[in-house]
Symmetry: C2
């Protein structure tokens, strides 16, 4: 913990950057030596802004006596240039489009680079994770589960690793998938998943808190895993050896107050050891999507399942205050229960440049029928217009 | 339920037959039409003895109006002759050698035919049961588990069926195994297990409540299963499809207040469906013997495990009143916690005909070192003598 101050401010009430200069300062502070997620929040709170914190930084030390060192402004410029080239945008802690569940963990990343549809992270997210050296049964199980959950409107979150993660992402490309990378968004690991990552950036969402250009190393993975579980209402462990890294994800998820679930396996199969251990420790046993939803408190009927997606009655009268459109996401605010009002989400996906209905359907993170209904409602109330050719735009 | 009377008497205080004539009457009453285990107890309690109940029987009807019909005395003679030819003996409800845990179920068999070492049923018994069409992994798991549990002094109880049961019996022949048959002791099913049954009669214990000569039919199996669980402190389900017969055993075990445990398996393997369902319903997850003992409340240390076997200090001053030696078992009294004082058990295994130390070690149902210590103690106190050649006999 790098925080020189405590207690930490409520991340939900954190004020995000409102200008390009502020974004630059946030990024520079976040990239400064010995400034971690907790330290970032503490510094900004103490000094009132990232710029002020950067000025004060050379005179400060961490609780353990280490010196802070502001990042070079040029390095931040370089990172912003890489982002522009890659089409990546920043999600900033406190901004309405920042994933609400993630903001609730003890150490949310102050900044996340995103490629794809940030709205996905505001839907009902479920992490499906497990062993890299998964068996074919394990991979099949991950695919079945992710497909079932996707079909019920849940977004699948995983870490783009070989094995279970890859299987879970592949089948949920159409329904909604989020990959959290350990290194920079432009440093996909493993390299064999470069094409999958590209598909996810087009149809799903790639996220990373690491600086662009950063190669992933072993120290990045536990930090990445806290984001996987932090985004998710539940973490389902599909196949994992005893004492494997996946158990760390499970522990982090428990510390974050998230549901931990596991798929059982034969005790004679070492790749089931971690799952069986979790089950003995009280994790919910998962055979199929019904079990996941039951553990999440669903009654298991379609009526109740659909009710999870908020209907039009939940939409506020005024659209939320947007973050800086040029850099930050624009997928509408996330609510703490992981379900942003759908009308707001759909509206936030639109601008004065025409967007195709297909894109909105893909990015809204909700069942298509619900999204179509929301679009219809926005058209009826005059907030959205359909241009010749079908493109959707915000009304003036 | 055939009981014309209620409430039923405490089976632990039930008076067993004390003569050959009484044994004959018990067997005849038990074999009478429409007299089930509960009816047997109610009738003997109401009329004071099996003989009196048999006299009254023609004038009585069951609660549902069915007529009782006393069995033909000749059929009982035939059954007793078959028993003598087979070397089977009767364990009678209320007798000290009747398995104490079994006596506590709601409908204990009034009579059990036994071949082998009845003392085994008084040790710590654990049922290992599962699918007949088990996978090789399932059979391997059953064998590993039964072997581990046997090595820790537990007796393995199962149903001699193909698959899981067979695997569990085979590996526990040396440490202690009990097979409960659905049909008569002389009608081993499946036939392919005839040799295994013979080995069990020599090294373990074969039990059945069915009349000798009775072919097993489907209606016998659930009744047999209640005995498998009734004898046992815990029932471990190793591999079982969803909605299979093994789940009935699990339900019976729960109704009997016994621990129900299950070995997990992949949800993609239908043969794990029953186990995984039980696990979701709260059964303890079993990976190895440690898990079984932990669920039974063992702290997992050798010291505590050995303490389960009562030491010499538990032995009563006087040997228990024996049942009729010619027909009934003679393995000493069972205590309700499933652990008969070892000295008593060992003494009950001896007679005035020399027995080999090996046989006693095999039949006592306790770790060999403990049995040797008990034999030594009995020799020191003069209750047992060692004949030239090593045979052990009761002292005059």
């Amino acid at each position: 913990m790098n925080s020189p101050l405590s207690p930490l401010p409520d991340p939900m009430s954190f004020t995000p950057p409102r200008s390009g200069a502020e974004v630059h300062a946030w990024l520079r502070l976040a990239r400064s030596r010995n400034v971690g997620p907790r330290g970032f929040r503490a510094l900004v709170t103490r000094f009132g802004s990232a710029e002020a914190a950067l000025e004060a930084l050379p005179g400060l030390t961490t609780e353990s006596g280490k010196r802070f060192e502001p990042a070079a402004p040029g390095a931040v410029d370089t990172e912003l240039e890489r982002a522009r080239a890659l089409g990546a945008r920043l999600l900033c802690l406190g901004a309405p489009e920042y994933p609400a569940l993630l903001a609730q963990i003890p150490d949310p990343p102050p900044l996340l680079w995103a490629r794809g549809a940030p709205g996905l992270a505001c839907g009902s997210c479920i992490a499906v994770v497990g062993a890299r050296n998964a068996s074919s049964t394990g991979r099949r199980m991950a695919a079945l589960l992710a497909q079932e959950l996707g079909g019920r409107g849940h977004t699948i979150v995983s870490g783009l690793a070989r094995g279970i993660d890859t299987a879970a992402h592949r089948v949920s490309l159409a329904s909604g998938t989020i990959a959290v990378l350990a290194g920079g968004l432009d440093r996909v690991y493993p390299a064999e998943n470069a094409d999958l990552a590209e598909e996810i950036s087009l149809n799903g969402l790639l996220l990373s808190e690491a600086p662009l250009g950063e190669q992933p190393t072993s120290r990045h993975f536990p930090r990445r895993n806290r984001i996987v579980s932090g985004l998710s209402r539940a973490v389902v462990l599909v196949e994992a050896a005893d004492r494997s890294g996946s158990l760390i994800t499970a522990r982090l998820a428990l510390e974050q107050g998230r549901e931990v679930m596991a798929v059982p396996g034969s005790p004679l199969d070492p790749r089931a050891g971690g799952c069986n251990r979790l089950l003995r420790q009280g994790a919910a046993l998962v055979r199929h999507a019904d079990d996941v939803e039951e553990a999440l408190g669903y009654a298991g009927t379609t009526a109740l399942r659909v009710a999870h997606w908020p209907d039009a009655g939940d939409a506020p009268d005024a659209p939320p205050e947007p973050g800086p459109r040029d850099m930050a996401g624009d997928a509408g605010p996330c609510t703490p229960d992981g379900a942003t009002p759908l009308l707001t989400r759909v509206e936030a996906l639109l601008s004065h440049t025409p967007a195709s209905e297909d894109d909105i359907l893909r990015q809204a993170g909700a069942p298509p029928a619900q999204v179509l209904q929301a679009i219809g409602e926005l058209e009826l109330t005059g907030r959205v217009e359909r241009r010749p050719g079908g493109g959707l735009v915000l009304a003036d």
